[in-house]
């Protein structure tokens, strides 16, 4: 015993292997703790949205509606887009007009975010910063449309909804690669 660990002496602790922390040999099939989750309580918390569109709710919005909401609820922190580059905003600038051009300038949604669905998921779960979770699904669709349009990714008329949003291709997506580091001496 070392600091409460149960060490399995028969297994070799080689590189990146995991030490066995518990002896589960005599465990029952279930400990009988916890309770089944109801569909209603799952639905209440299950707000995530995946790139394939799973989780997107009914509703729709467009950039024109989104601009009005943005100016009222977002611009105070994220700027109107008209500020000079050296003005420090409370939140990051979200848009610039160099979609996909040069990610080294200023990382924005248009030039760095690989999936459009992430905008909806993130804005709905935590924005506005001073009143998280207060936007309606239609407002979130509209804001998503406005940000995408202001980043030159969709037209002003394109309606964002559960069908159209997952189809938006973000310019930066092609740049993303999974981590290729692995256990061993090589610096990567």
């Amino acid at each position: 015993m070392l600091y409460g660990y149960m060490l399995c002496m028969s297994c070799k602790h080689n590189s990146n292997s995991t030490m066995v922390l518990q002896d589960t040999a005599n465990w029952p099939a279930t400990f009988g703790l916890g309770r089944p989750a109801t569909q209603a309580e799952i639905a209440k918390l299950d707000i995530d949205v995946r790139p394939d569109g799973k989780g997107l709710p009914p509703g729709a919005g467009d950039a024109i509606t989104g601009k009005t909401i943005y100016m009222a609820k977002c611009a105070a922190c994220h700027g109107t887009g008209a500020e000079p580059m050296d003005v420090k905003l409370p939140g990051p600038a979200l848009m610039n007009d160099s979609a996909g051009a040069d990610r080294n300038k200023l990382k924005t949604i248009g030039n760095y975010w690989p999936y459009a669905t992430t905008i909806f998921d993130y804005v709905r779960r935590t924005m506005p910063y001073n009143a998280p979770g207060t936007l309606t699904d239609n407002e979130v669709y509209s804001l998503t449309a406005y940000i995408l349009h202001a980043s030159n990714i969709i037209t002003a008329q394109t309606v964002m909804n559960a069908a159209s949003l997952p189809k938006v291709t973000m310019p930066a997506k092609k740049l993303f690669v999974p981590d290729n580091r692995h256990a061993g001496p090589e610096v990567r």
């Binding site: 922390l21 995946r50 760095y112 999936y115 992430t118 998921d121 935590t126 690669v177 256990a183 001496p185």
Partner: protein, 397 residues
């Protein structure tokens, strides 16, 4: 004079000089010449840090950093554990707390805190480090400022594999979403393999309930992985056959590597730092015990090497036992300084054979656009002739 009633509830407050002092003890008493002539306070309900100690975290708008240079041993006092949160520290009633596990499982289930505490439990000492843990802007940086976003605790909880066994994770589930119950409702996608390896659901830290800043009442703990993935205030796990591509794993916690952007970069590469001598200390000629910590998210530290001649030659430091898996490991190296200007530095070597790189090696591997996350270069300190110690910043852009 001190009364028992007044000192039973010792409070800390800021004096007019900005010092933290105990409310029940006037500063005149702290400066009293002879403690053998003054009766002290009786036993209390909760201990206090000595009023002579002023060890604090360094705060910014979004984080606060552990004072590595002021610590001894490898356990970070819980109130000095680094903080990084995305919408402040939430207040969560432990009696109302529930963890939902659903998605690609046979039995979607809800566990209360009491349920979690009844499962077979495990304790483990490991570090937690933010992958944005790097500063190198100027000479006048302390270890806390350079890499104070790493801390170490003994964590206690239930193995995530125990809970996954309970809900019956389906064979096709390859990722799970971990979601916090703070105002950011922060989410990360985690490969299911980590759950079978060593992921934990923890409710205790250094012998007591987890501190609110560290996720009270329950957090995910992924040993060796970038701190952001150990989601605090954990409220939900959803099993899936693909990652969710959340904001924190796309626009954040990703970094340029040559012409690409590296994503899902989880393990923290081996790193070390000399915490003494370091800025802003001034040392005298003669014997100096060089001290510091080393750690690796890939396993155990097997060796730490010290150079006292700007990297020309390296000698092995002495490691402090116990050397634990994915844990801060103390090292020491006794050195006689002759008074000449020099540079001292340390490099960690872990059990995978990886040696902590120089900044130039990182540039060679990742390109000059690198930065932001997973920076673990060797940290060098310049010792001037007058004994003043300065950080050695290196530019790469």
């Amino acid at each position: 004079m001190l009364g028992g009633a007044a000192t039973a509830a010792v409070m800390l407050f800021k004096s007019s000089y900005g010092k933290m002092i105990q409310a029940a003890i006037p500063e005149s008493v702290l400066q009293s010449a002879d403690p053998t002539k003054t009766i002290g306070p009786p036993p209390g309900e909760i201990g206090t840090r000595s009023a002579f100690e002023h060890v604090v975290k360094k705060t910014s708008d979004i984080s606060s950093r552990t004072p590595l240079q002021d610590l001894y041993g490898v356990i970070t006092p819980s109130d000095l554990h680094y903080e990084r949160h995305h919408a402040g520290v939430p207040v969560i009633d432990p009696h109302k707390y529930e963890l939902l596990i659903h998605g690609m499982v046979n039995k979607p289930m809800v566990f209360t805190l009491a349920d979690l505490k009844r499962f077979p439990s495990v304790s483990r000492i490991c570090f937690l480090e933010c992958s944005g843990n790097f500063r190198n802007s100027k000479e006048t940086l302390t270890p806390q400022e350079i890499c104070g976003l790493t801390s170490q605790s003994e964590w206690t909880g239930v193995m995530l594999s125990t809970l996954f066994r309970e809900v019956g994770v389906q064979p096709k589930a390859s990722w799970f979403l971990a979601e916090g119950g703070d105002a950011a409702i922060m989410t990360r996608s985690i490969p299911v393999k980590k759950a079978w390896d060593d992921a934990m659901i923890v409710y205790a830290q250094n012998g007591e309930a987890i501190r609110p800043e560290q996720g009270y009442p329950v957090r995910l703990l992924l040993p060796g992985w970038e701190g952001n993935t150990s989601v605090k205030w954990l409220r939900r796990l959803e099993l899936s056959d693909q990652p969710y591509m959340t904001r924190e794993e796309t626009s954040k916690y990703t970094y340029a590597v040559k012409d690409s952007i590296r994503q899902f970069s989880f393990e923290m590469d081996a790193r070390s730092i000399i915490t003494f001598p370091a800025f802003p200390q001034q040392v005298a000629k003669g014997w100096i015990e060089i001290r510091g910590i080393a750690w690796s998210g890939w396993g155990k530290i097997v060796k730490v090497e010290i150079s006292t001649d700007a990297g020309k030659t390296w000698q092995a430091a002495r490691l402090q036992e116990p050397v634990l898996d994915k844990a801060h490991t103390g090292f020491r190296y006794l050195w006689q300084w002759n008074g000449d200007t020099t540079e001292i530095m340390s490099r960690a070597i872990d059990e995978t054979g990886y040696t902590q790189p120089t900044l130039q090696q990182l540039v060679n591997a990742r390109g000059t656009d690198m930065g932001g996350y997973h920076m673990n270069p060797i940290t060098a300190w310049v010792i001037q002739r007058d004994g003043k110690v300065l950080f050695k910043p290196e530019k790469w852009k």
